[in-house]
Structure formats: C-alpha cells, structure tokens
C-alpha cells in the first residue's frame, strides 16, 4: 500500500531516529566491554538473530561477514545470548558495579 494516506500517517508519528531513542536512556559506560562477541564465530551463522532481536540494536553486520558489537548502550537484558545459536560467539556478563544502564522511569 503506497499512497498519500500512508505518508500523512507517518507525519502523525515523525520517526524518532534510533540514536535519539537511545539517548533517552542513561548509561554509565565502563572502559571494559561486559559483553564480547567473537565476530569470527558469526561468519558461519545463518540466523543472525541478535541483529534483529537486540532491543538496543547493538549488533552490526560487517562487510567481511562478521558481526560487530557495541556494548556502550546495552540494556543488559540477555536477549542476545538467549537467541544466539553459535556456541561461544557471545561472552556475557554484567558490567562492573555502578556501571551500565541506569533506568529512571521504568
């Protein structure tokens, strides 16, 4: 369905950019990544569920077929390691005490 009506619908809901969306949540970032992704292990993965499922959109496919992970704006939810079906690709732990996501109105 493409038509003027669809566009006016979009005008009602100006798409907020993903970075603006993530900017509404507070993060205290530690130097050490608490989650490490072995991008090489991801090359042979056919599902790549993490890319679509991570609510913070932190998994980025790279041109060489691997996956890059940005830990800075992580909700620490656990979705990625649960949907991952490549053994050893994701090493998951919590950030150092006091660091990571800080919810205020949740």
């Amino acid at each position: 369905m493409n038509g003027p009506d669809d566009n006016s619908l979009d005008d009602d809901w100006p798409a907020i950019s993903f970075s603006d969306r993530m900017a509404t949540t507070e993060f205290k970032v530690h130097d050490r990544p608490h989650i490490v992704v072995d991008g090489k292990a991801c090359v042979d993965c056919s599902t790549r569920s993490c890319i679509v499922a991570c609510p913070a959109d932190l998994f980025v496919p790279t041109s060489d077929g691997g996956i890059l992970f940005n830990y800075e704006q992580c909700f620490e939810c656990g979705t990625c390691y649960l949907v991952c079906n490549t053994e050893g690709a994701i090493t998951w732990s919590y950030p150092e005490g006091g660091f990571g996501v800080i919810f205020r109105s949740s």
Binding site: A15, I16, A53, E76, L82, V83, G97, G98, F103, S106
Partner: protein, 443 residues
Amino acid sequence: MADPDFDVVVVGAGPAGSCAAIEAARGGLRTLLLERGPFPGSKNMYGGVVYPRILDELIPEWWTDVPIQRWVTRRSTMVLTETKALSVDVRNDAWAAPPYNGATAYRPDFDRWLADHAVTAGATLLCNTTVTGLLRDSTRRSAGRSGAKVMGVRTDRPDGDVTASVVIACDGVNSFVAKEAGLYGTPNAKNFTLGVKETISLPKHVIDERFGVRDREGVDIEVIGCTGGINGGGFVYTNLDTVAVGVVLKLTQLAAQKTRPEDVIASMKRHSAIAPLIDGGELHEYSAHLIPEAGLSMMPEMTGNGLLIAGDAAALCLAAGIWLEGVNFAMASGMYAGQTVVDAIGNGDVSQRGLGGYARRLGDTFVLRDHRKLRRAHELVLSDRVQHMYPSMVTSIAERMFRVDNPAAKPGLRRIFREERKAAGVHLRDLISDSRSGFRSFG
C-alpha cells in the same frame, strides 16, 4: 573456622532481595544486601503494575508512603486487529482507597523505597557491587547432591569476597548465581519473552482526560493482537505525567520474524484505539528487559546447600494472559526465603535439608499455588490461534452485532458467530478444544 562476615548475603536489591533482607534483619541476622546498580531499581523495568497487598504484614499501611504513580482503578483488556478493537473495561472506585488493588510505579522509585525499609530493619545495603561468583566450601567433602556448601560471594570490589552462612540469590531473570550453583539448567530462549517499553511524557490533565480518570486514579490496559506476526502482547498504562506503552514478544519468534522490537511498538502506537491516547507525547525513556514467561515448567531448583533463589531468578513471574504479575511473587518469595533463613540459622542447619522450609512456604501460598493453577495458561495465551485468529473472530462478531445494515434485517447471533468464525478460519473443533483448555487453565 572463622565466623562468616555476615549471616546472610542477599544478591540483588530488587523486590525479592529487599523483602528477604527485611525478614532476615528483623529476625536478628547480620544481613548484607548487594546491588550492582548505583541504586536499587536502576536495572529494573517491568510491565508497569505492582500489587503490594503481600506487604500488609511486612510494612503495615505501606500505602501511606509507597512511591507509586497512580492507583489502578480501571483495568482493561483490549483485543485488536488492524482496524478493529474490542475492550473489556473494569472500573472499581474501591480500588482508589486503602488497601487498594494495583498501582503503577516506576521501579527505580519503588525498589529504592523497599530497600530503604530493609536498611531501617537493620540490613546493610551496598550498591555499585556486582557479584561475580560463589564461594564454596573446599575444606570438606560434604558435597552431596547439591554440591559443596555455598560460603558466600565473590564481588568485583577489591578484596571483594564476602563470607556468609547463607546466600539468597535475587539477581533477576538472568541469575548467574543460580546458574553457577547448578540449580538452573541451560536456559532456553523459548521460555522467555522480551519486554520493550516507551515511557511517553504528557501533561497530567491530558492523561486524566484521555483515560477518564482524576487525581491519583490510573488505568492499566493489556492488549492482545497488537504484535504483528510475533506472538506476544502489549500494554498501555498511566503514570502521573507519562504514559507507558510497550510490547512483550516471544523471543524465538522475534528472532525469526525479522521485525525489530521498536517497530512492533511503533505499529501498535499507530492503531486507532491507541494513537489518540498518546498523541503529541514525547519519548521520555526507552527500556527493555527479559521476562521468565514459562512459569512452573522453567523453574529451577530453588534450594541449594546454603543457598536460596527468589524472584525472577527463580522464574517466579506469572505471565498468564489476563494476569500479569511478578513484583508480588518476588516480594513474597523473598519474604519466605528470609523467614526460612532465620529459622535455619536458629536451628543450626543451613544445608539444603535445613533450608527445606522455603519450598514448603512457597508451596503452601499463592506463590506456587497460582503457578500450579495457571501452569498451562501462558501456552494457551501465546498459541497461534489465540494470537492470530481469535482476535479477528471476536472483534468481527462484536462489530456485526452493532452494525445496522438496513434495509437488510438483523442476521441473528448464531449466524454472525458461524460466519465470522469461518471468515477467521477457525475450526469449530479447535474452538471447543481451546475453550476446554481455557476453562482448565483459568478455572
């Protein structure tokens, strides 16, 4: 052997941990409450409504100072298709006065308040501290079925080992403590849902008008049929000057459907039944959290040698369609864990057997009774027919009932039912079988 640093270490200052610490400290135990966030509740997010009646004994007249947003006086269940909506809307004035029923609250406020009560009771609260492992008794070969006795926790602080007679793991849905203790099998994605939520700013008077409430009255709307091809549900609820809108998505399908979580929220927000409620609002905070959805079938063993598991860490979250509760189960299980430890230390036996009172307390109360009663409900609610076929059938039946199609005469309920059932592709035998299991699950 030297005395342990504390009688009990509670891992995680959420509702389970703080209630465990209150009971333990009041029972005279030297109690340490550890929290990895900068303050209790900073890591926590939920589907919005807390039912605090379980606190009646622990914190008498808790409603006088609990930091809630609004008292829920309207509870709606909404069934959506792309262009239709059918709501069952329950309003009760008595829910606006003590002892109340449910309340919307921000977890960072609520959890901090509850942890303050633990501190008042005499517990030591230590924030900014992540537990990185368990300390085990290596001196004795007392292992047995539940492994070497837990002797405390390792934390990420310098010299961060803390010894204790008992550890209570209230470290949430990903509980690394329960996993390390071997009480939790390998977690399976099919047992979890992902909750994502937008907290949207709107002036209080606008929220009052749009939702038909005043003062501290509030609304909780649970939605089914709003998650596209992904099985799950949605919610809309009122805070004082924000509205929370979110979806709960079956993890395995989210991964398979190639739809991003924020896009599912966006599509629900565009629905004609939802859009006017939040029109003009601005995103205030975006958040996400996992939910242990599968209830009884995914629960770990909750008692180890010197170790108890409570709250989300023990999968004590009730996701049964029309009932969506977790904080109350966390608070109750935390209380019972705390009481059990007081007894066990008094009796001088904190082995798995000595901590047996915990399982008895859970089993004799709503904590496991509700879960046993509703053990099939989550499967039914997340089944394909309930998710994708029945919403279209029931909304169409309702629409036909109120459609005036003159000069055509009214078709009669039986015909409407038959035609709309067929139009939705529902076989009568499936409907009968689902109704039966519905009565069995909820009855």
